[in-house]
């Protein structure tokens, strides 16, 4: 869990997060950071050094942290409330609901080290339920960026958006996605690869694996569309409807197989555009193992996604 350098060409999205809020904070004095003894894991040391009065460390107290965030918003600030996503989402769930979403407080919640980044530490430290919990809360925007660029754009969009936002930030190294004309809009999906046989809808760390799966499927003559659904709430129903027109959808996320992105897509499809689906994610409490091992063990990789697509399409291989 130490801050080892990312492999060449791979990036830690936390760096994009802290760099972006530092840049924004220079021009906008309203931006403050609130942490729960998590300056190190949130990589906010430099922010603290540059803006010592604007880094508020409440200690190990997540309910208070989120309440303080709502209060800072009331006082005209734009607080970025950062903490390990497992604790931020679970321990302060009612504060996120009542103080932030229901009150429409202008709070930006940043769940750091999301998914199974803390793999070896066990299910207490896995944050695989957060998207399912938080997307159930009305008026709370939920964003799961896939790479450093999207993380930075999500931060900027969150500042421009007047209202509560949850941004899920991984600490696992990811590559920068190749994009022609990148545009980020809250609530808009991004089609990264065209394809008409099947649609793969993913977000976060699974987007990269979805692209690799589509590559493998292409070699077999299957044309798979890859959609990056960074915003889970409000979700892009137009993109889902278009995806359903292919006849098959695979969803993939670094979270529970039910309730999160897959659940959101399935809810829409079941009621509007019934379609064959596979929802890839984790089944529940997980065994001990590194993040990479857990992702492979539960099929959250290119092979797993491609296999689900083949299964759905009835394609026999080999």
């Amino acid at each position: 869990m130490s801050a080892a350098a990312a492999p060449t060409g791979m990036f830690d999205c936390r760096d994009a997060y802290v760099h972006t809020i530092e840049e924004l904070a220079v021009a906008d004095e309203r931006i403050v950071a609130v942490v729960n003894d998590s300056v190190g894991s949130s990589k906010l040391g430099k922010f603290r050094d540059r803006f010592p009065r604007r880094l508020i460390n409440v200690g190990i107290a997540e309910q208070n942290m989120v309440g303080v965030g709502a209060g800072l918003a009331n006082g005209g600030k734009i607080p970025f409330v950062s903490g390990a996503s497992c604790f931020l989402s679970a321990r302060a769930l009612e504060q996120i609901k009542a103080d932030c979403a229901y009150s429409q407080a202008n709070v930006k919640l940043c769940g750091i080290s999301s998914g199974v980044a803390y793999g070896e530490l066990g299910a207490t430290h896995h944050s695989i339920e957060d998207v399912a919990w938080l997307r159930a809360i009305d008026k709370l925007t939920v964003i799961v960026p896939a790479d450093p660029w999207e993380t930075a754009e999500a931060i900027k969009a969150a500042v421009a958006h007047d209202g509560p936002v949850y941004i899920r930030i991984s600490r696992m190294p990811v590559p920068e996605l190749a994009r022609d004309k990148p545009v980020f809009n809250i609530g808009k999906a991004e089609t990264l690869r065209a394809g008409g046989d099947i649609a793969i809808i993913a977000n976060g760390t699974l987007v990269h694996r979805a692209l690799a799966a589509a590559e493998a499927l292409a070699a077999e003559g299957v044309s798979a569309r890859v959609i990056n659904m960074a915003t889970v709430s409000p979700i892009d129903t137009r993109a889902i409807a278009d995806a359903a027109a292919t006849g098959s959808i695979v969803t993939a996320e670094e979270g529970l197989a039910h309730g999160g992105l897959g659940g959101a897509v399935a809810e829409y499809c079941a009621q509007n555009v019934p379609v064959r689906m596979r929802m890839l994610g984790f089944p529940g409490f997980l065994p001990t193992g590194s993040a990479a091992w857990l992702m492979d063990r539960f099929g959250l990789n290119a092979d797993g996604i491609a296999a689900a697509a083949r299964d759905l399409l009835g394609v026999k291989v080999g």
Partner: protein, 291 residues
Amino acid sequence: MVSVDRRSRGARAESLENRAAHVRERANWMRRRLLRMIVDAGQGHPGGDLSATDVISSLYFDILRIDPAAPNAPDRDRFVMSKGHCTGALYSALAGAGFFPEADLDTYLKPESRLNGHPNRTYLPGVETNTGPLGHGLPVAVGIAVAAQIDEADYRVFVLTGDGELQEGSMWEAAMFAGHRGLGQLTVIVDRNRLQQGAGTEDTNALEPLADKWRAFGWEVEEMDGHDHAAVLATLDAACEPRDKPRCIIANTFKGHGVSFMENQASWHHGVPNAEQYAQAIAELEAEMGQ
């Protein structure tokens, strides 16, 4: 309508006696009004409303620097109702202060009413944050006070908490942090009526020694008679003076105060008076004001 007084506190010309008489009259009106709301709605929390009425009357009709015409003015004083179920007291004060028409009180708890069973800032001007689940108001108030501290602003933050509410751990997370930050802008008033929903606080999960607990967390602590308007005003005046510690005021109150048969009875936490009881309560309150 309340007149907005943006002069510094302490520069007021009125005597404490006159101020107390005004606040007492408003509190009596609030009591009659909130009881009517509860009877009309068929539900409510009269016990806690009536224990908090005198403190809330003192805040809204004397202490707070607020302007109903500019409810979101950045330099306004903030009042956070942490005991969010006591909307009878809060709504009657907000209406009396001019944040919305008094006639809206007649819609209390009715379908589509802005007067929800717990306060909602997106419905009603003057509400600072949505409360209802206990243990939420103090952390938010602490955040507001931190914002004031960062900005070196001179607005003050008041929060009213129930005493039973202090059984929530989030209150002590916030208390610990407020003490650590030396949040001199912040004043917590504990409505110490010693009764929670079903029984006495000391019989349920005892709070005493309550003052020592706050002091141990780095707060200045005072106690007052929460129904003596002059004492309440004098204590709140002092709480507005510049200082470098948060202040806790333990307001010793009685649940159901002002109505003889409700006073100090846990059963009136969310009881609703019948017609006869209502008539008696109003008669008592009118008699108190010599009407």
